[in-house]
Subunit: 244 residues, 2 copies
């Protein structure tokens, strides 16, 4: 059954409560949201929205990874957004979008019909405030991404991507453990993310391996052997000002 729709899930149990668009809401507001929301599930590879579709709903990512992709007439594509749990899908005040939204892994979304959600943005300051913050965060990410696309070498792009994966997966763990990490995207999707070809992605990942910076269990699962050299390879000035 495709696009399984579920309603009645409790907001108080929600794993993304503290970061999503609803994170500033009080109990009464959460009750309201709870009555409006519907969960939808997508299998890896399924389309969530097609470019030009009517945006009938907006959503928060609960679980999984979704991508935003732009396509040119001749088929060239560029990923322009990578949505992880707590990220927001949709475009308040607009009914269409100009990119495809796809489930890169199995995905669960918390959805709101668009028109009522636009009304919420007007009526509930806690939601519009948080919406502004989320939009600003995404703008910041987009700007880092532009620097990467415009000025970084293939090697720096790959290192930047891997370092981001390391940071986000490490961040999510509270137990201090360092389990094997997982690339959330296929080689093709990584190429798409970084403005490269699959072949170049493959070669550059190979280089991180042969340089002794990463170690791979299989195509997706890996460990970081030398975090410092990985960070150096990104070309960023990460630890600017950090005194150890």
């Amino acid at each position: 059954m495709k696009n399984n729709v579920i309603s009645g899930v409790k907001c108080t149990d929600c794993p993304i409560q503290h970061r999503a668009v609803c994170s500033r809401c009080d109990h009464a507001e959460l009750m309201l949201l709870e009555s409006m929301k519907k969960y939808r599930s997508f299998k890896a590879g399924e389309a969530i929205f097609w470019r030009g579709d009517d945006l009938t709903y907006v959503a928060s990512v609960i679980e999984g990874v979704a991508t935003l992709e732009k396509t040119m007439e001749d088929g060239r594509t560029q990923m322009v957004g990578l949505l992880l749990p707590s990220d927001f899908i949709g475009h308040p005040g607009r009914t269409r979008i100009d990119f495809d939204v796809t489930a890169a892994s199995d995905v669960v979304l918390c959805c709101f019909d668009r028109a009522p959600f636009d009304q919420l943005l007007k009526d509930v300051p806690h939601i519009s405030q948080r919406m502004i913050e989320l939009a600003m965060d995404e703008l910041d990410a987009a700007r880092d991404w532009m620097l990467l696309l415009g000025r970084k070498t293939a090697g720096e792009k790959i290192a930047t991507f891997v370092e981001m994966v390391v940071r986000r997966q490490h961040f999510d763990r509270k137990d201090g453990m360092r389990p094997d990490l997982v690339l959330p995207l296929s080689r093709g999707d990584i190429a798409n993310y970084l403005g490269l070809t699959v072949e170049t992605v493959s070669r550059q990942i190979g280089k991180l391996k042969s340089d002794g910076i990463l170690e791979f269990i299989d195509k997706r699962r890996f460990r970081v052997i030398d975090l410092e050299r990985l960070q150096q390879a990104t070309g960023d000035d990460d630890d600017g000002g950090v005194i150890v």
Copy 2:
């Protein structure tokens, strides 16, 4: 006198009233803004904010062109924002930014101190609503820009940039006249915008000239000879669905 500060300007005479962050405001709200705002002027080339600076105020561009630029340790730079009149400078909810803001031409800003402005975002829904729209517009622009940086050829990048200049300047005229157009940026800034070098920009502009698509009066002023071929050269599917 640098950073000339003026206050007491009337909002009702404001040329960007209908597009800026205040565009939804009613009369009473505009009166409030009028009492809070200060105009600041910057000469071409002057810094508006340095990366890492305390963001003491936010602002709308009244006149001129400002750029946002990211810089890497080794000096590589990438423009990540181009602000024209009515665009917003600042980062609600954050006190620092990670890029330089520079006046690319002489610029006039309508400024609000940051803390009181953050309060306005909480208290005045007309402002927070418009802020969301502006942020979403900028996200859309950022995504088009990512496609350009990641996948377009040098020739397509230049054509896309010129076509945007044509569209925005034409859009501003109501009299239907087609005066000479002006590149709002130097070759260096264009290179920075497009993720290219100055040399490549120069060669590709030369190509548009020798292909008979553009005609130059001087380095900055030009006319479009063949708009259709210019649009084709962008690689975009602009006129998708337009039936003439």
